[in-house]
């Protein structure tokens, strides 16, 4: 499964970005192979409606789960409808750290 993690940079060593729609990068970690792919977020500086647009983007990239700090209501509605589980990570670490916690099942799932 591909896990999308919002990031401040384009590598797994980058810090996790706590905002979803305006995150500079989305890092897609493959939980089976451990490989990753970075997507620059085209909506990071958008005027409005960036939450659902970013959600559509990661759905189109087949993300099965999302790890971020905060998620707006519209983005959450899209991800809920698509069955993408959302997890909160707000410990200030890197994408790698967040991914490790995800694998250890220690992240809080967004209700």
């Amino acid at each position: 499964m591909k896990v999308c993690i919002t990031a401040q940079g384009a590598t797994p060593e980058s810090k996790v970005e706590e905002r979803f729609g305006r995150a500079p990068y989305f890092i897609l970690m493959d939980s089976d192979t451990g490989s990753f792919e970075a997507i620059a977020n085209p909506y990071a500086d958008g005027a409005g409606g960036v939450g659902p647009k970013a959600a559509q983007l990661i759905l189109d990239r087949n993300a099965g789960a999302l790890i971020s700090g905060l998620l707006g209501g519209n983005a959450k509605a899209v991800l809920d409808a698509a069955g993408v589980a959302q997890y909160t990570y707000r410990s200030g670490g890197t994408v790698k750290d967040a991914f490790a916690e995800f694998r250890n099942n220690t992240l809080q799932k967004v209700g």
Partner: protein, 283 residues
């Protein structure tokens, strides 16, 4: 002539100036007073009267599910993120929609129609001879102030003096309310915040090409910086209202300064003539 009353800072006395100006002018001519502070309209408090109210709606898309092939073209087109297309359904977020109709145009299956969505109301009343009050009210939770303001402005008669009370601030609702007016009265107060926001508001109306003058309200007599700013920017100070407990008390009981103390009417008349001079037009 169409006049706007704006301020930048909230609570400086926009509605007070607009209401007293309308009340004064209605003795001698036809006045339409429009409350375009649609998130918090309050002019009706000064002019209680039976009103006729109707809904204001905007067109929004409605997806005909059986015709939709979930191709995603509408979501791709929408700049506001109002549509999200999943493999089996389309999600629509009405509060993000700007009613542009683009999704209908790009849909290859004609699977989108438009339906009306209520965003607020428009009330009209005639509280006194010569005065029509139009109040735009935005529904709680709706972010679409601009279409309500636009609708309220179209209700004004053509042969009357129109006075538009705007929202505080300098964002879209204020720009929409002030746009197209012949002159603008900027109401400020003797505080650093009053001056700071006056500067912003003056900048907005100047960029819109609307001539403006200033009313200093609740003046404590220490208006040097405001006067300096107005001098530097060629803004006429049309009236200074003193900081007065008596005036505050008149306001607080829902009365009008020009009704309780008619001697003030000449000052409001003079604002009107100064605005007319600014606009360079005959009434």
């Amino acid at each position: 002539m169409k006049l706007a009353v704006a301020s930048g800072k909230g609570g400086t006395g926009k509605s007070m100036v607009a209401a007293n100006l309308a009340f004064t002018l209605a003795w001698t001519g036809e006045v339409t007073l429009i409350d375009c502070d649609v998130e918090e309209p309050n002019l009706h408090l000064f002019f209680p009267a039976p009103a006729t109210t109707r809904d204001i709606t905007i067109p929004v898309p409605s997806i005909v599910e059986f015709a939709c092939k979930h191709c995603g073209k509408c979501a791709e087109f929408c700049q506001y993120g109002a549509l999200t297309v999943l493999p089996d359904r389309v999600l629509f977020f009405p509060e993000l929609c700007h009613s542009c109709g683009g999704c209908m145009l790009v849909c290859p299956k004609n699977a989108i129609t438009e339906v009306s969505r209520r965003i607020g109301t428009l009330s009209t009343s005639v509280p006194m001879k010569g005065l029509q009050l139009i109040t735009g009210t935005l529904d709680t939770g709706s972010p679409h102030a601009v279409p309500v303001i636009r609708e309220a402005k179209t209700m004004a008669g053509h042969n009357t003096t129109v006075i538009i009370d705007t929202a505080p601030g300098t964002s879209c609702p204020v720009v929409e309310a002030v746009d197209g007016c012949d002159a603008c009265i900027l109401v400020t107060e003797s505080t650093p915040f009053g001056l700071h926001d006056l500067q912003l508001a003056a900048d907005v109306v100047s960029r819109l090409g609307i001539p403006a003058g200033v009313v200093i309200n609740r003046s404590d007599g220490k208006d040097d910086q405001t006067i300096q700013f107005c001098t530097d920017h060629d803004l006429d100070i049309m009236m200074t209202i003193p900081f007065s407990r008596e005036i505050a008390a008149i306001q607080n009981r829902g009365d009008l300064l020009t009704r309780a103390r008619p001697e003030w009417q000449k000052d409001f008349c003079s604002i009107f003539f100064k605005c007319k001079a600014l606009a360079g037009r005959e009434r």
